[in-house]
Symmetry: C2
Subunit: 102 residues, 2 copies
């Protein structure tokens, strides 16, 4: 088994002013929200889930995006409710959130 | 199948001056070397391998580190020869480099 049971990477890429990219469309904000939520859920022991920021993931047309490994499932999201569902269903229980897949 | 056949994340975390971390011990430099190498190898078509930078991967004691998904194999490396082996063997051919695993 890998070191982490599940590992999610949020694209937080930034471009020159005026060009949209994952960070400008909410990637960084949602990353922080997910980090705090996972930290609270895993407060009692070593984390099996890791939340990370990443550079440009190369799927700008679907942004903001995050990818969950080892499954290799890609998500796009709008708000904190979407992140709640990705965390609660996929990261914790292993159930893919079909409606947010890209 | 996932969007990329293989996806490697290099920790390029930076700490306050004086504290060692993956970037200070070569993470960023080796990331750039791997990116250039993969770009050259995949010049003729859409890339099946993606090289990304990431924030702190939480394995500072083994740094500098990178993780390859979907396999979830972690590597530590010293120089460009190590990166050549990770790229040529694992990222391109799918053969894990046992000697660099952590």
């Amino acid at each position: 088994m890998s070191f982490y049971e599940r590992h999610i990477f949020f694209c937080v890429n930034e471009r020159d002013e005026g060009q949209m990219c994952c960070n400008a469309s909410g990637g960084g904000k949602m990353l922080n929200y997910a980090k705090d939520k996972i930290k609270a859920l895993q407060a009692d022991g070593p984390g099996k889930v890791r939340v990370n920021k990443a550079g440009c993931l190369g799927r700008c047309d679907k942004g903001p995006v995050a990818v969950v490994y080892p499954e290799g499932v890609w998500y796009s999201f709008v708000d904190e409710e979407d992140i709640d569902e990705i965390v609660d269903s996929h990261l914790i229980k292993g159930e893919v959130v079909e409606r947010l897949k890209v």
